[in-house]
């Protein structure tokens, strides 16, 4: 079942719903990806807030997230939910991530969310996200298949 790819690709998954995060990680790993996962931006990047289980996301935490991504040895793609916990959302993250010009800022960002307003979707694609998926309308296999195709290019 698991299709091994030549070199294991790393996907950073940012998702705030625990059951969804678990199933995404499992399916990605099953599909041969190395996964860095987090429920929220803060938790993802080992902030103190994250460790304490607090779920507040502030500007600093997105800044920290970007700083953390910058420090990563390797990352090939980001799987991002729109509704992160706290005031800021995935859109704020994408804008800053693409704008800061860090060494990973060119990697594809796949937004997978249940927020399906056309306006939100438009904003993401305009901000540099590669693709937008409405969770309930797509199978994991479909999304992961698209990630593979894009990373193979």
């Amino acid at each position: 079942m698991v299709k091994k790819i030549a070199k294991q690709k790393t996907v950073l998954v940012i998702e705030d719903e625990r059951p969804l995060l678990e199933v995404i990680n499992a399916k990605l790993e099953k599909s041969g990806f190395n996964v860095i996962s987090a429920r929220s931006v803060d938790q993802a990047f080992g902030s103190e807030l994250g460790k304490k289980g607090a779920s507040v996301i502030s500007i600093e935490s997105i800044e920290r997230a970007l700083h953390y991504i910058e420090s990563l040895e390797h990352v090939d793609a980001i799987w991002l939910d729109h509704n992160l916990l706290g005031k800021e959302d995935g859109l704020d993250f994408v804008k800053k991530f693409k704008a800061n010009g860090g060494r990973w800022s060119k990697i594809p960002v796949f937004v997978v969310s249940n927020a399906a307003s056309p306006k939100t979707i438009k904003s993401y694609t305009e901000s540099g996200a590669s693709k937008y998926y409405v969770k309930s309308d797509h199978r994991l296999e479909e999304i992961i298949g698209d990630i593979k195709v894009l990373l193979a290019r």
Partner: protein, 621 residues
């Protein structure tokens, strides 16, 4: 020889001495002359000195005179000053005199008035004198009579003349005198008689004139009476008119006040301008909304008094104001929610504006503008949008979890399942998918109903879009072995429409056709230009059809026809409702033909959409 020589030498010397002596003499003489000249010069100098002394003395005298003159002049100046003072005093006196003269003038005026009064009195006196003259005339008559009586007495006295000769003579003298007096009196009497005769004539003439006047006065009286009657009539009719006018004015006032009260009490802001854009009516709500007072703005140009800004606070130029636009064209302009009014206190509020030109004989004579604060409406809109987005997220998240976990289990990612487990799990998965569809449809419906469903037309290639929908459903079509055809009018260029919505429309009617057509049935889809400006999507199937008695309900929300409910439980009853909402909000029309009830006769759906796409932001149903 030697002596000889000496003598001659001595002679020489003597000669020389003689010459010298002569020269000295000549010099001495010259000196004497010079001395004499010097003496003369000295004398002249002495004379000059004397003259100079004399001149100096004269000068001294002159100086003394000048000093004396100066003193005199000083004295004169003082005198002048004194004269000036006297003159000033005189001027003051003159002024006083002038004042007195003014007073005198007043007094003269007073005297003049008295004189006038006196003159009037004199006139009265003169009249009295005339009367006195008349009395004198009467007295004269009486005197004449008295004279006659005296003549009688005289005659009696003549009889006794002998006895009283002395007396008689004296009496004769007296009589002669009396006669003279009597003659004079007679003269006066005659003159009075003449005058009386003249007066009588004048009196007769006056009487004639008076009689004529009496006749004229009677005629006048007649006319006057007639005039009085007419005047009375006029007065009566005038009073009636007055009354009527008063009543009518009262009525008009009442109706005007009523209209004004109605206008001013309208809950929306109301502004009426004349043809130049000058404000002529502004109601209370408008005053309150704009934070202005009617007395401050009446008669002024509205667009200059109130600042209209857009969402970002950029001022909209006066010529773009709805009022100005209504003034220039005879079209009603209604603005979208992007206008804000900036109040004097710098706050702003969003508003819905409708400006309508007032037309009289096709000419714009003013505008009526109605506007209201839509702050709360916008807040409600925002809340609606938030609700839809929140609901969509909250409802879909657990469904996504069920779906993805089932997907992994079914894929055997966490170990193989037995057939029964697989079958059950498949049921879970498919039911969940139905739930996803239902949620999606419900969210679309609530979007449509809440008015948060934006229609954003863009140039689209309809054939491509429809083809991709067909591709999505190809597996279901082939699974039911349905023969499918798609015809597209090639001449059709690109159309303007919102691709998301067209996709939803085609998806819904196509999936219905596939769902409600028997295995081995037939579906035909065609797209063509219709009535030049529209595109017509026609989809016919050989399916179950729509029962005649339920055809009117087919587009109703959550309605499902009886004949399909029995055969297929899959379906939300929302698809056609969404189709109709979208199509109609896009300026199009959807309808169908179905023989109904008669199985396998199928249904044909028609969707007509404008080629140029209608922009409606946001839509509501």
């Amino acid at each position: 020889m030697k002596q000889k020589n000496s003598i001659s030498a001595a002679d020489d010397i003597i000669l020389k001495l003689k010459i010298l002596a002569k020269e000295k003499e000549s010099v001495r003489r010259k000196l004497a002359v010079t001395a004499a000249k010097l003496a003369v010069t000295a004398e002249k100098l002495a004379a000059t000195a004397k003259e100079k002394e004399s001149v100096r003395r004269k000068l001294a005298v002159t100086a003394a005179k000048l000093a004396s003159t100066a003193t005199k002049l000083a004295t004169t100046a003082k005198e002048k000053e004194s004269v000036r003072r006297k003159l000033a005093v005189t001027a003051a006196k003159l002024a006083a005199t002038a004042e007195k003269l003014a007073v005198t003038a007043k007094e003269k005026e007073r005297v003049r008035r008295k004189l006038v009064i006196t003159a009037a009195k004199l006139a009265v006196t003169a009249e009295k004198l005339v009367i006195t003259a008349a009395k004198l005339a009467a007295t004269a008559e009486k005197l004449a009579i008295a004279a006659e009586e005296k003549e009688g007495v005289r005659r009696k006295l003549a009889i006794t003349a002998e006895e009283k000769e002395d007396v008689r003579r004296k009496l004769v003298v007296i009589a002669a005198k009396l006669a003279a007096t009597a003659e004079e009196k007679e003269d006066v009497r005659r003159k009075l008689v003449v005058t009386a005769a003249k007066l009588a004539t004048v009196a007769e003439e006056k009487e004639g004139v008076r009689r004529k006047l009496v006749v004229t006065a009677e005629e006048k009286e007649d006319v006057r009476r007639k005039l009085v009657v007419i005047a009375q009539k006029l007065k009566n009719s005038h009073e009636t008119l007055e009354h009527k006018v008063f009543e009518r004015t009262k009525e008009l006032e009442m109706s005007r006040a009523k209209e004004e009260a109605i206008l001013l009490s309208i809950g929306d802001g109301l502004l009426v301008t004349d043809e130049k854009g000058n404000i002529i009516i502004i109601n209370k709500t408008a005053e309150k909304l704009l934070g202005i007072k009617s007395e401050e703005v009446l008669g002024k140009i509205f667009s200059e008094e109130v600042v209209l800004v857009d969402e970002k606070g950029v001022v909209i130029p006066p010529e773009k104001h709805p009022v100005e636009m209504a003034l220039t064209g005879s079209v009603t302009t209604a603005s979208g929610p992007t206008y804000y009014y900036a109040r004097k206190d710098k706050t702003k509020f969003p508003m819905a504006i409708m400006a309508t030109p007032v037309l009289l004989n096709g000419k714009v004579i003013g505008t009526i503008k109605i506007f209201r604060d839509i702050t709360s409406e916008r807040e409600v809109d925002k809340a609606k949008t938030e609700f839809v987005s929140l609901a969509s997220h909250q409802l879909r998240t657990p469904l996504s979890a069920v779906s993805w976990y089932a997907e992994m289990l079914l894929a055997g990612d966490v170990g193989d399942l037995n057939e029964k487990q697989k079958k059950y799990l498949d049921e879970v998965y498919r039911s969940n998918q139905r739930m996803v569809e239902l949620v999606n449809a419900l969210l679309d419906v609530s979007s449509l109903e809440l008015g948060t469903f934006l229609i954003e037309p863009e140039a689209i290639d309809l054939s491509k879009l429809v083809q991709s929908v067909i591709d999505e459903q190809k597996s279901q079509i082939s699974a039911k072995q349905i023969s499918f055809s798609f015809l597209f009018e090639k001449s059709m260029s690109k159309m303007r429409a919102d691709p998301k919505h067209i996709r939803m429309v085609v998806q819904n009617i196509l999936s219905n056709a596939v769902k409600y057509t028997h295995e081995g049935g037939r579906i035909k889809l065609s797209i063509s230009v219709f009535e030049k400006k529209n595109v017509l999507i026609k989809l016919s199937d050989t399916g179950y059809g729509i029962p005649k008695n339920q055809q009117d309900k087919i587009f109703t929300k959550l309605f499902r026809a009886d004949n399909v409910r029995d055969k297929d439980t899959d379906g939300t009853g929302l698809g056609l409702y969404i189709v109709k909402s979208i199509v109609e909000n896009s300026g199009g029309k959807v309808w169908f033909e179905s023989l109904g009830g008669k199985e396998n006769k199928g249904t044909t759906f028609y969707v007509k959409l404008p080629l140029n796409g209608k922009e409606v932001l946001p839509v509501s149903i």
